[in-house]
């Protein structure tokens, strides 16, 4: 690879890979690659959204009843936290494009902190569910529905465990993505603090931001679908 034809011009950026002509081509390629990756992520989640839609059309009463067991206020808190993190990461990308790496690092750290809050809230939600025996599928071990003890649910509902399979499947996959995003943004923040990025080369920050917005987008739909309706 070292004997690359040297036609990148006199002042080529050290981050420019040998097979690209200029920084712009590299940046645009990376961005398009990330968008296509987001498409695959969307279809990955799409399968789970599909499960949700098909089962909801079959058993709307089961969804309405079982969702009463979720804590709306914690879900709302998480929605606000994720939106806030989306704002900060957007500002981080803006700052690095304006050559303000210091501010970028702070905004990225704020984003990671918000993500941490999200994960902590999720942890409490999950442990609460587990204590109540609200496991997915056949491990479901909660008699409240059968005994009619759930507030607002008049008739006993069938197969509430399917709702919790979907709930844990969707939020679980989403949480994994939050964790992945946290790691990537941490790396990006570290590299930014080392001065690796500037307005000439900021692809990793922008890609991390795009990915993070996508994670936020998924939650924007997950939250009302699971908690509210």
């Amino acid at each position: 690879m070292s004997q690359a034809i040297d036609d990148h011009g006199p002042r080529q950026h050290p981050a420019l890979a040998h097979h690209f002509n200029d920084m712009e081509q590299q940046h645009e390629s990376l961005k398009m690659g990330l968008w296509l990756f987001l498409v695959t992520e969307l279809l990955l989640f799409g399968g789970l959204f599909g499960v949700y839609v098909f089962f909801r059309v079959w058993h709307p009463e089961m969804f309405a009843g079982a969702s009463k067991m979720l804590n709306t206020w914690l879900g709302t808190l998480n929605a606000f936290v994720l939106i806030a993190s989306s704002v900060t990461v957007a500002l981080a990308v803006r700052c690095i494009r304006l050559d303000q790496p210091k501010k970028t690092v702070w905004y990225l750290l704020a984003t990671i902190a918000f993500a941490g809050v999200f994960m902590i809230v999720k942890y409490f939600e999950y442990t609460h569910k587990f204590h109540a025996g609200l496991f997915p599928g056949e491990n479901f071990n909660n008699l409240d529905f059968a005994l009619g003890k759930v507030e607002g649910v008049v008739a006993p509902i069938q197969n509430p465990h399917v709702f919790f399979s979907i709930y844990f499947g969707m939020t679980g996959l989403h949480s994994l993505h939050v964790l992945g995003g946290m790691f990537f943004l941490t790396w990006a923040a570290w590299r930014t603090s080392k001065g690796a990025y500037s307005s000439e080369y900021y692809s990793p920050v922008e890609l991390g931001g795009l990915y993070w917005h996508f994670v936020d987008l998924i939650w924007i739909y997950l939250f009302p679908l699971l908690y509210l309706i």
Binding site: A79, I83, L98, F223
Partner: protein
């Protein structure tokens, strides 16, 4: 090479991000309130004397969609960026909708024709004939249990057919 050769693409001012963030907060609050506290269907019926169902669902999903569009356009920069990315994103949503719609064609209509066939057969009295002559069962129930085990008679087969039809009709 790429269609987009602007060296310094548009960098929006910070207040755009704060503004969009504020709108997102408000919309989320609206969805929570509608989802949790309001019964839009009955409210509309009281006030306007119009009967609707699922207004809550529609309002909540509309608010979520507006939020998603705002995030995509401003935070993900689709508004200012190469339109190719918007095409990619919207196109993938289109394919996802193929998946949903075509599968719903199955799950929603499951059992409809089977149920009708069963009615037709019941009315035609074919099951009575079959009860009289159990040996002929398999000629109709092409997908029956293992041959030989269906010998006990057509009653079981008939019941199975019924329950199958109902079971499919979710």
């Amino acid at each position: 090479m790429s269609a987009h050769s602007d060296k310094h693409p548009h960098v929006p001012p910070a207040r755009v991000y704060y503004g969009v963030g504020a709108i997102l907060f408000i919309l989320t609050a609206i969805t929570v309130v509608t989802g949790k506290c309001l019964q839009l269907d009955s409210m509309v019926e009281e006030v306007f004397k119009l009967k609707f169902t699922g207004l809550n669902l529609i309002l909540v999903m509309a608010a979520a969609t507006i939020e998603a569009v705002l995030v995509a356009l401003f935070f993900m920069n689709l508004l200012y960026d190469n339109k190719m990315y918007m095409l990619i994103f919207v196109g993938s949503l289109m394919f996802l909708s193929f998946f949903f719609i075509l599968t719903l064609f199955d799950t929603v209509h499951r059992g409809r024709v089977y149920a009708e066939r069963d009615t037709i057969w019941t009315e035609s009295g074919i099951y009575d004939k079959l009860r009289a002559n159990p040996g002929a069962v398999r000629s109709i129930h092409g997908h029956d249990d293992a041959p030989g085990s269906d010998a006990p008679g057509s009653d079981a087969a008939h019941d199975e057919q019924d329950s199958e039809a109902e079971g499919r009709d979710h």
